[in-house]
């Protein structure tokens, strides 16, 4: 083999040997630079500055995955549902692609968003542009939403199903739920599903009105929905919904009176927030 080669091999063996240190515990791994080099020391000052920036209301280019753009985008979902939703048309926020926020002198903050919206029943997706305005000031004014570049998804036709449902419940049948929608297991009776959708649409009026930059609403559950008689051509409903507000983790409860027809869509007649009731707590004894 030759002495030179043997020396080379031995030298290389020595290197291997020293690397073969059994490392136990994450602290010691950093000494083993060749295996998994520790990430470079973070610039904590940079990170703190970034965090502080977001603390004060975010302005300028927004990170689409962070809460300011996400909360504003959720309002677009509520707006689309309130305006265009039906027993067979329900919108969800799919993704936020980009966002921008700016102060509007003395009146509030405006968000410009590029988002993807999803029509849940037909499972179609479309990119939309939207503007969300949060008014400031003591008066509890509702946020304003404008949507553009979103025509296809709004043109989706569910007219025949809507007409069929409308006819059925105008003449023959009446809705009165026995189970919550969905029930504890996430189940909804297929015959009740259009009314679950309707309740979400009606609730969207409330969620839109109540939203601020510090809230994120979803419908947690429909406690009940009952059909009422009408003298006109609308269907009329009384429903009790449980909302989920993400930031406080609370479950605000609302009663709504609303009408619906394929032609008119959903019109909310009356809303009432129920008090923070803990009746079940007062009655229930420890198991």
């Amino acid at each position: 083999m030759g002495l030179r080669r043997a020396i080379v091999l031995v030298a290389l063996m020595e290197v291997t040997w020293s690397l073969n240190v059994t490392t136990i515990g994450p602290e010691t791994v950093s000494t083993d630079a060749s295996a998994h080099p520790e990430p470079a020391e973070e610039n904590t000052e940079q990170k703190e500055a970034a965090a502080a920036e977001e603390d004060v209301m975010a302005t300028g280019e927004l990170n689409p995955n962070h809460y300011p753009a996400q909360r504003a985008a959720k309002l677009v979902q509520h707006y689309l549902n309130a305006r265009y939703g039906s027993p067979y048309k329900l919108f969800g926020l799919k993704e936020v692609h980009s966002g921008n926020a700016e102060e509007v002198a003395d009146s509030g903050r405006k968000y410009q968003l590029e988002i993807s919206v999803h029509e849940i029943i037909s499972n179609t997706k479309e990119k939309c542009s939207a503007e969300v305005f949060f008014p400031s000031g003591a008066k509890q004014l509702s946020p304003q939403v404008q949507v553009s570049a979103c025509e296809e998804i709004l043109k989706l036709d569910a007219k025949s199903e809507e007409q069929a449902l409308y006819q059925q419940y105008k003449t023959n049948k009446t809705v009165r739920t026995e189970e919550r929608l969905p029930d504890s297991y996430g189940h909804i009776d297929p015959e009740m599903t259009p009314f679950w959708h309707l309740s979400i649409v009606a609730s969207s009026f409330i969620m839109l009105k109540e939203s601020t930059e510090n809230t994120l609403y979803n419908v947690a559950q429909v406690a009940n929905i009952t059909q009422l008689a009408t003298e006109n051509d609308q269907l009329k409903f009384d429903c009790h919904v449980l909302l989920h507000e993400m930031v406080s983790q609370e479950i605000p409860q609302w009663k709504l009176l609303f009408t619906w027809s394929p032609a008119e869509g959903v019109k909310v007649l009356h809303t009432e927030q129920l008090p923070h009731v803990h009746e079940f707590e007062k009655r229930a004894k420890p198991n």
Partner: protein, 349 residues
């Protein structure tokens, strides 16, 4: 005569064989407890039940310690589910996770190695009282907190994920005991939080990874909940988190966002994840599982399987990273280098 024999065999078959546990349905506490015992019986050398605390209503809080026998010092992985009562998909995931690792270690060399080097400590339901309360009837389904009485006796429950000793009571809480984010009388005032604190705290050097499972929102959250504090390994946590989210996306196309709680969701304090990171456990994550608000807490049972499959993929990525950083790193590189040297040596000859 043969008819009677057939009937007898049929009867004996069902007597002997338990009905398969359905991992894709929600189970009440009693069924989860008996499933845990059943797993310990079925895998006696691999699964042990450890009782490590009592709930406010004096129920036992148990975990499953899962691992293969080893002569060398073992490290540990922590996973807890159901700290918030209404998040039913979380306990479902813990049960699925246990089944997965027990099914795969016999045929998957990597899982076998991980179970040899590490013990998995899995708590299927941490907030036992709250979980049971949420099963009571349809009006209790959306309960979140534990069931300890508030100071005035007029309100119930502390948010266990605000009760840990990590910047306790500073942000993302409410002093109103009716609030769903009431952090308790003081840090670790609650027995459920005490149980985790004592068990993990007394073994903190062993833990590589602390995963706490919640719903909903499709998020992977990293410490800290307080906006003024940044984890020393923030970059690493983000990188591993993004990789886990990628793994999740590949399973069923669901997007999970990654970031600190204050960035992605909202600021908070007293979370179990933050406390764990402060114990120097390097890889601590909060999983917020499906969905994005359509069904919310009442995720349909048909979604249990896909949710568990994607979450498993994400969790496994983090766990594998934690394992490889500690155990494989040096050995793998040395082996590769040695192979190269041998090849060189052959050429030199």
């Amino acid at each position: 005569m043969t008819d009677n024999l057939e009937t007898l065999y049929f009867f004996l078959f069902f007597l002997v064989n338990k009905v398969e546990y359905d991992y894709f349905q929600y189970h009440p506490m009693e069924e989860i407890s008996s499933w845990m015992s059943q797993m310990a019986k079925q895998y006696p050398d691999v699964v042990a039940i450890v009782d490590y605390g009592k709930s406010y209503e004096n129920r036992t809080i148990s975990l499953m310690r899962i691992g293969l026998k080893s002569d060398t010092k073992k490290k540990a992985i922590w996973m807890d589910c159901g700290i918030h009562a209404r998040e039913w998909i979380a306990p479902a995931f813990c049960q699925y996770f246990v089944r997965q690792i027990l099914q795969t270690y016999k045929t998957d060399a990597k899982m076998e190695a991980m179970m040899t080097n590490m013990d998995f400590y899995i708590t299927p339901v941490l907030n036992v009282d709250g979980y049971m309360f949420s099963w009571k009837n349809s009006s209790t389904r959306l309960w979140r907190k534990n069931r300890s009485p508030g100071p005035s006796g007029d309100c119930y429950g502390t948010d266990l994920n605000r009760n840990f000793d990590a910047n306790w009571g500073t942000i993302g809480v409410s002093s109103d005991c009716n609030s769903d984010i009431y952090p308790g009388r003081g840090p670790i005032s609650e027995p459920e939080a005490q149980a985790v604190t004592y068990f993990v705290g007394s073994r903190k050097e062993d833990f590589l990874c602390f995963l706490t499972i919640h719903s909903y929102g499709q998020l992977l959250l990293i410490p800290y909940g307080h906006p003024d504090f940044t984890a020393s390994n923030y970059n690493e946590l983000m990188k591993v988190g993004e990789e886990a989210a990628e793994a999740i996306l590949k399973v069923h196309g669901k997007k999970y966002r990654v970031g600190t709680s204050p960035a992605v969701l909202y600021p908070n304090s007293g979370s179990s994840r933050d406390w764990a990171r402060m114990q120097d456990i390097p890889l601590t994550f909060t999983f917020e599982l499906r969905d994005n608000g359509t069904y919310g807490f009442e995720l349909p049972q048909e979604e249990i399987q896909p949710t568990c499959e994607e979450a498993y993929s994400g969790a496994l990525h983090i766990i594998t990273y934690a394992h490889d950083k500690t155990f494989n790193g040096a050995a793998a590189t040395a082996a590769a280098l040695w192979t190269t040297l041998l090849a060189l040596g052959v050429h030199l000859m």
